[in-house]
Symmetry: C2
Subunit: 349 residues, 2 copies
């Protein structure tokens, strides 16, 4: 029994397949056919149902579409806890960009709490199993990461924020070119007149840390500047960094590039311990542009990761992969940018 | 045609209703009945199907269950961008706790990018419409927030991280008792011998800021200490805070409690401008325990919000609300904790 065409339009969200059927004067099965098997309907019936769907703003229920199309329009993302007291970049920004870009493409991000290491694979399995996610975004990729191989074997689309640091490259990824960031830091310091530029890194063996060290080394060598005896290493902790950088300062380096803002803060402490002023006596550059960098005194020059762009690129690559699982892998290396603050002023200041 | 009981167990994730039917030697409809209308089956058939389901580790597909039970096991959360250069607490920690507690209860967090203000209501409508989320967690509640009334009107379960700051209280919420935090800061400073304790707040009218000011005021009055002329206000910006707190320092206050770590940093700058040392000449207390607080020199004493507990409580209240929509509202006010660092040492130090 069709309602009059002038009856009020139901509130969005309350329109069901039954509402459409009633308004169009057909059975619910006919509406279902119009959506899924239009060839079964007479053209005039199909036309009437489609017009009613448009009029009412009916959107087929996602769960029903999932069963029909085998696409849930969901992207899984395993969230890891932020260690307290770190100076790491805030992943909020990455997650917001990821969520926004996915939204624009009609997808949603489904979160799950993911422990590091292979214990986390259960969470991935469960999301596939229970929610039929269409793919995954991985972050915090590390040496020996098993997630990429696990997902590849199952034919599940995924994209990594972070390249593979060991073994062969698997799948698509988006990463930030850390070496390019420390290279740019050397260029900046050389332009300011510095020659004795040290690098304070993490212990060798971390993919991210070795990459950042490599950018410093290649830029120094390009300028014919010595790297021997100009390198120290420390875990990502202020007191440890403060102790590690001491001998370099005592040997008279005029600038220190650190692999993280946390290590750079250790330099600040080591300089103050020696009654020296960061940015005046010795230039300091950090890495990450953590919220702390802008708030220090003097403000810390640091290499910023384009987290919003990483989030957008992750979604772009994942959508491409979902539409063609067999396409050749795509890898995107984004340029970081040097944020110059008062910790790097001219050495003859 | 049932397979032999010794045929290998299919990989988890690949078990479908059809697999179960084949293995049990029944039709898919019979398996469906075993799950949804067991009374239709003969006891021995039901027993056989159930045993096969257990053996194969079959988990009915979430989308199918959504259609059947009208529960998607999804909780919507609108993520907002973090303003760059803020010293706000890192919402990563809240989101991780939310996600983990939800996981444990069999629910998942579905993210969407949410602009502030009522423009964001579209996102809520879409999640209800397309994904049938079972409820929402709201954060960043503000004066004139329309989301609570909008969701209440539609009978959608929700819980707010943050109370209502204007009008009547609507629905369940979890919040942190900001007044209790600044009250504890006064107690700490009084115990150290301070009497002239100032408050540097945000401009009046923000719910969160006025609450933090109130805790300082009530504790000062309890100790018979003067509040007149001891209060300044600034927007959440270092330079502005530095200018605003100047007159209080010049009038000889011995301690400043700030409504945020950012305002506390403004105090550090104002003190250094006067050749005074935070924690030695004037004690400073911040609010939020942002990552920066621990990294400053001297370390900033500050009031920490129990973000993990907030996340867990949000899920607990929401699950209770989903199981009984008509139950009386539940509101949880959690105690923050004072983290003492070197910015508050004894005034006769």
């Amino acid at each position: 029994m069709p309602r009059s065409p002038n009856s009020p339009r139901p509130k969005a969200g309350s329109v069901t397949l039954a509402t459409v059927a009633q308004r169009a004067g057909v059975s619910p099965q006919t509406v279902s056919n119009a959506l899924n098997s239009p060839e079964l309907l007479r053209p005039e019936t199909l036309e009437r149902v489609r017009r009613t769907i448009d009029e009412l703003g009916y959107r087929p229920h996602r769960a029903a579409q999932t069963l029909r199309t085998r696409s849930s329009k969901l992207i899984g993302y395993g969230i890891r806890p932020t260690a307290p007291g770190t100076s790491a970049p805030v992943m909020d920004r990455f997650l917001h960009a990821l969520s926004q870009t996915a939204d624009e493409a009609g997808y949603r991000i489904l979160l799950f709490a993911s422990p590091p290491g292979s214990a986390g694979l259960d969470g991935y399995e469960e999301l596939l199993d229970l929610h039929s996610v269409d793919g995954f975004v991985l972050s915090g990729t590390e040496r020996g990461d098993q997630r990429q191989a696990w997902l590849e074997k199952r034919g599940v689309p995924f994209v990594g924020f972070g390249r593979m640091w060991s073994g062969r490259q698997i799948g698509d990824w988006v990463d930030v070119d850390g070496a390019s960031g420390t290279d740019a830091a050397v260029e900046h310091l050389v332009a300011l007149g510095h020659r004795r530029i040290a690098f304070l890194g993490w212990p060798r063996g971390s993919g991210v840390g070795d990459d950042r060290a490599m950018g410093w080394q290649r830029a120094m060598q390009r300028h014919g500047l010595p790297v021997r005896g100009k390198r120290a290493q420390s875990i990502d902790d202020i007191a440890s960094a403060q102790a590690a950088v001491g001998p370099l300062l005592d040997a008279g380096v005029t600038a220190v590039i650190a692999a993280s803002d946390m290590l750079a803060l250790g330099c600040y402490h080591a300089l103050r311990e020696r009654r020296a002023v960061p940015g005046k006596d010795v230039a300091v550059v950090g890495f990450d542009d953590s919220p702390t960098a802008a708030l220090l005194s003097p403000g810390l020059s640091t290499v910023a990761q384009p987290l919003e762009a990483v989030g957008r690129e992750c979604v772009r690559l994942l959508l491409a992969r979902m539409s063609e699982l067999g396409a050749p892998p795509e890898r995107v290396l984004l340029e970081p940018s040097l944020v110059v603050r008062n910790s790097t002023s001219a050495s003859d200041d």
